[in-house]
């Protein structure tokens, strides 16, 4: 029990965060309402954490930013896990040429300097990809763009994990029995192998969420992720950096939110690993 305490705390923090961000539109002020008469207001009853350089409520922006960050991170982790699982299953099950090709691809992507590559991907012009200006301005596009970009470089770990697991499971008797009974490769992969690679995948995916939040906030911080006026923890820090001499405390809250969230995901993931995969500890 004592060993599970950090994981318990992590899970608890996550539950609270999730509840707070889900409830954000009902409890918090509007995050984009500006009030130039109350710039950098100190904390008060109506603005629990004060206001920012445009007089917007910092607490509301934190909560709404959290919605965006968490939505992006969870969706990215799912997409990356999906891509990685598909590639890992195919490579591990079929072996041979396909395996060699897919694994060289994985090694290649792993060898790339990630952040510079992400910056290039984030700086692409959606118009040149055939996405009209109207579709570009929607919230779904902003979030979807980040999800796709990060998942495109983030699937490699999952692919390696699933491939290794698939190769051990493939030799088990029940898989050979299924083959003998005439099951198709697709059925074997989905019905017999997938359930057996699921638990390490869940662990890896949970542990990846923290990293994804760090990457997303870094991109937003650089001005390439979630675009203002929409709030995200990363772009709140960009604003805070510009006013660091006049309103130093602005930089505290968004970073603290990122730190606590990432820490919570890492603790929960670590605990999950102990539970589901005790050999690896």
């Amino acid at each position: 029990m004592r060993r599970d305490l950090p994981a318990l705390i992590g899970t608890l923090i996550l539950a609270l965060l999730l509840a707070a961000t889900v409830a954000a539109p009902f409890v918090a002020a509007d995050p984009e309402t500006m009030n130039l008469a109350a710039i950098h207001a100190p904390p008060s009853l109506s603005h629990p954490l004060g206001t920012d350089e445009l007089g917007r409520d910092v607490a509301a922006r934190l909560l709404h930013g959290g919605r965006v960050s968490l939505a992006v991170a969870l969706a990215t982790a799912l997409l990356a896990a999906f891509l990685g699982t598909a590639i890992g299953l195919l490579a591990g099950y079929h072996g041979g040429r396909l395996d060699a090709l897919l694994m060289r691809l994985t090694d290649g992507v792993m060898a790339l300097p990630l952040l510079p590559l992400l910056i290039v991907l984030a700086a692409l012009d959606p118009a040149k990809l055939g996405i009209g200006p109207e579709a570009q301005s929607t919230e779904a596009f902003t979030i979807g763009r980040m999800v796709v970009i990060i998942a495109l470089v983030g699937w490699t770990g999952a692919a390696r994990l699933v491939r290794a697991q698939t190769m051990t499971v493939k030799a088990r008797d029940y898989v050979r029995a299924a083959t003998a009974l005439g099951a198709t490769p697709a059925r074997i992969m989905l019905r017999h192998i997938l359930p057996n690679v699921a638990s390490p995948m869940v662990v890896a995916a949970t542990l990846s969420v923290g990293n994804i939040i760090l990457v997303e906030s870094a991109l937003s911080f650089l001005g390439l992720g979630v675009q203002p006026p929409m709030a995200s923890w990363g772009n709140m820090l960009t604003g805070a950096m510009n006013v660091i001499w006049s309103a130093p405390l602005q930089a505290l809250w968004p970073g603290l939110a990122i730190f606590v969230t990432v820490l919570a995901f890492n603790l929960a993931g670590d605990g999950l690993q102990r539970r589901l995969d005790p050999r690896k500890v």
Partner: protein, 319 residues
């Protein structure tokens, strides 16, 4: 060994070639091209001028042709001209490379000097209070967003206390340029990077030390009367180094590609900031060359790590 090396080198060249195609293609998908930017900044440019310039730079050609032309030039060592800095690409990359190397090396050394002893101490008594404390701080350091850590250090040491400069490489005016001035400017970015890397190295050191703790040779050493400190330093540590070398090999590339975020926060003119500026400023030649260099160095790092492993551990044979 040499056949293995040739294979790996060929593979690295392949990855580089594929990467160059991908990055070149992606850069073409970024908003505007250099001439569009010129038109926007110079009202005297007539449409006829623009068309002439596009022909001159080959921008009217299809993408495949442009890639081949660019690749042919690069192979001949001609990296082109940086639009953003109005200098040849090599002249821009040189100093940035040196700045990144200084920063990253200092941070890596500092980080290792702190993390390795911490990891060793933690591995001495797994499950003890000190192990838990070290583990917890390692977890915390791995969860810190570097740009926020940088901002917080800046807030405390530059804004509130005023002890250290908030950014740049040297002071402007009379007191700039000296060694002390340079070190003062390095302090905050180096501290940021060192703290950010600390957790990872400490955790890996601990794991590597623990993996050796149960080995027979440790029991032998203990049986012949070796003290715990001597065992840890003389026996355990030498073997625990091996997995750490792999980790360092992965870090090797970042010595040259710099720390994009930390450099941006502190205005440190290294490779990371250069890549970010070049990509965002649509400086095609510079961004491509810098990215390719970063990729090449990352590949070289993992190759060097594998070679070092094979050299140091006779149990590993290279195919």
């Amino acid at each position: 060994m040499s056949i293995w090396l040739l294979g790996r080198l060929a593979q690295a060249v392949m990855v580089l070639a594929v990467m160059s195609v991908v990055v070149h293609g992606l850069m073409g998908l970024m908003p505007g091209d250099p001439i569009d930017l010129m038109i926007a900044s110079d009202p005297n440019l007539t449409p006829a001028d623009a068309i002439r310039l596009k022909t001159l730079y080959g921008l009217d050609q299809p993408w495949g042709q442009r890639y081949l032309a660019w690749a042919a030039q690069v192979i001949q060592g001609e990296l082109g001209y940086s639009r953003l800095f109005a200098q040849p690409v090599l002249a821009v990359i040189g100093p940035a490379l040196l700045n990144s190397l200084t920063l990253m090396l200092a941070a890596l050394v500092l980080s290792l000097l702190l993390a390795v002893p911490l990891g060793m101490v933690a591995a001495q008594r797994p499950g003890s209070l000190i192990d838990h404390a070290i583990n917890a701080s390692a977890f915390a350091s791995a969860s810190l967003p570097t740009f926020w850590l940088g901002l917080m250090l800046m807030l405390v040491f530059a804004v509130s206390l005023g002890w250290l400069p908030a950014g740049g490489m040297q002071s402007l005016g009379g007191d700039g340029g000296g060694l002390i001035d340079g070190l003062r400017h390095m302090a905050l970015p180096v501290a940021t990077l060192a703290i950010a890397g600390l957790g990872q190295y400490a955790r890996h050191t601990r794991a590597a030390m623990l993996a050796e703790a149960g080995q027979d040779y440790i029991r032998t050493a203990r049986a012949k009367g070796c003290g715990p400190v001597r065992i840890a330093l003389k026996h355990q540590w030498r073997n625990a180094l091996l997995p750490l070398i792999t980790l360092l090999g992965l870090e090797f590339g970042s010595l040259f590609s710099g720390a994009l975020i930390t450099e941006t926060v502190f205005g440190w003119p290294g490779m990371g900031k250069l890549i970010a500026d070049a990509v965002m400023g649509n400086d095609f030649n510079l961004a491509l060359s810098a990215l390719m260099l970063a990729t090449a160095m990352t590949l070289a790092g993992s190759l060097l790590a594998d070679m070092a492993m094979a050299r140091l551990d006779p149990r590993i044979s290279l195919r």
